[in-house]
Symmetry: C2
Subunit: 349 residues, 2 copies
């Protein structure tokens, strides 16, 4: 999370807006919290230029809950959905959807170890929607172009690159993103859903996880995750002050390009398995050509204060995550370390 | 929440345990957070003397989600459940359960406007469990004795009096409590479930809301509400430092008795509709005999810094909530105000 936001939250931690109370204790039924939630929603609408026929929900449960809640809410009378299989997270969402209906894999890059995002989607006209994952954090691959899908509603898990680049919301039926990457702290999940997709929930859907019911109740059908919504609102406000989403896109392009450059210029010392044009601007996954150097790299990086560089357990190697709150100085320090490390170990490959 | 806890959380807000990171940003997959979660779980087990054959889960979704998740997880092959109807919250849980199965109302105090907790429960042997609400926040009524239920597992929504009095966990099949009363901030719900009730989930249960799956994954099947779990852990630690649950019970008895005394000694100026022996030690609901004085009471109380005294919208009147974190000084100030107000308006009834 941005340091400015954390500092503000700390400053008003015991006394929010002169109320004498902590936002942690403010009742969600009072005007104070409602104002916070509405401001957050309106700021998000402005940041992403979200059309009026889309509802913005702040839900409990994380993105993994949405893996179930999307089919429960959107399947309606359809019996199948389309999924695009692009790596670790899309596989998880696909497996969960299979618990509710037939899943047609409309495109997959599994055969090439998820080294790119598939462009040729074979959609089924009878499917309720087509689900994909915009950015795969474990694999380091990201969609930079979305194929036309005609009338099939697009549903996207945008958890890991939400708010990192401009977005034409009108192309989507539903967008969901849990907060803990670019929005704020874990606990709240943003759901942006087109009006006409509401009202089809399966009878077994828990009422508090029914999109239509939460849209009707302004995301306050039960106590929302108040502190997370408040912090998300501070992040949205910070984003606007930074110049909005366009600035975030410039930042992530600049930072990710610099890191990929170090990898590509390392004469094979580092390697990134992802095809050019499909590489993630959020999660730069790479390894040392000599596998045995990876633990040395991680250990030395930690000593230098460069934390959380270990790759996802299923992938191994290294991963640099460049979420919005990452400052340029952090990226610069990593680049310097990577160059020094490669220089120091250039005879070890 | 206790001021000591809020102060500690503020102090380490930007630098948790010397890590240089905020707990808001600490990844749940790292050892630091796992230690926090395990400590919270172990402290809770010790506070309530929870037997080994019970699992402690920290779940997303709030207590209202449990209204659906309990039948989804526990119904199994049974086709009915028993519910005790005691007021606003039990009615909500009952309505939600009806979406999943036949609900047999085994006891109800609706006929007497929920002025007591029914003692004569007519349980159905074929029901999967019997659900009740230990304390009704809107009505101000609380169970002080639980009837014997034989072999039928007892399921209790303990959200509003959890950790306020000692508890024989072995009498229950499942206990749930969302955090925002006595545990911590909204976002996390504690579920304590007996081992043998796991593994019966309905196929439509979202995986992240499957008790057995979360028990297996140590409540980390998806990113937990990390900051809420951390704060809950601080509250559990604070409770131990205060002398544990017995101290909380003494506090709530002392504070609630003092308030009820003011009401009962007011010569009919104030009235509490709840029968003696059934009155809540957490939520003291009362009104002025002259209805027109209620808005005056609330307005003058607010001017004196006595906040959040408005009764639940469905009940009207006034309500003083005495959750664990409420200090004696707050109760004393309210008592003094109530006496002065009654004195000033004694001719207005």
């Amino acid at each position: 999370m941005p340091h400015e936001v954390l500092r503000q939250a700390k400053q008003e931690f015991l006394d929010w807006d002169g109320s004498g109370f902590s936002m942690l204790e403010t009742p969600f039924t009072g005007d104070a919290f409602k104002k916070v939630l509405h401001q957050a929603r309106d700021d998000l609408r402005e940041l992403l230029n979200i059309p009026d026929n889309y509802r913005i929900l702040f839900m409990h449960g994380g993105a993994s809950a949405q893996f179930s809640l999307v089919p429960l809410n959107l399947l309606g009378s359809a019996r199948s959905v389309d999924h695009i299989d692009t790596g670790y997270w899309s596989s998880k969402s696909l497996r969960e959807a299979r618990r509710y209906c037939k899943v047609h894999v409309a495109a997959s890059s599994a055969d090439s170890q998820y080294d790119h995002m598939p462009e040729n989607w074979k959609l089924s006209p009878e499917s309720a929607y087509c689900h994909f994952t915009s950015n795969e954090t474990a694999n380091g691959v990201q969609f930079h172009q979305i194929p036309e899908t005609g009338g099939v509603p697009l549903v996207v898990d945008m958890t890991s690159d939400f708010l990192s680049r401009p977005l034409d919301v009108s192309r989507y039926g539903l967008i969901y993103a849990s907060a803990q990457k670019n929005v704020g702290p874990a606990g709240v999940t943003v759901v942006i859903v087109r009006d006409d997709l509401l009202g089809k929930a399966h009878p077994a859907t828990p009422t508090v996880f029914n999109y239509a019911a939460q849209a009707e109740a302004d995301s306050m059908l039960q106590t929302p995750v108040t502190f997370s919504v408040y912090l998300a609102g501070l992040v949205f406000r910070w984003l606007r002050q930074q110049g909005g989403i366009a600035t975030m896109e410039q930042n992530s392009l600049r930072r990710s390009s610099s890191l990929y450059q170090v990898i590509d210029d390392s004469n094979g010392f580092y390697c990134c398995p992802i095809q050019h044009g499909h590489r993630s601007h959020m999660n730069i996954c790479f390894s040392t050509t000599n596998d045995t150097l990876a633990p040395v790299f991680l250990s030395e990086a930690t000593s230098e204060g460069l934390m959380y560089l270990k790759g996802h357990p299923v992938m191994g190697g290294m991963r640099a995550s460049l979420y919005n709150a990452m400052p340029d100085t952090g990226v610069m320090a990593l680049i310097e370390f990577m160059r020094s490390f490669a220089e120091a170990h250039r005879y070890d490959i």
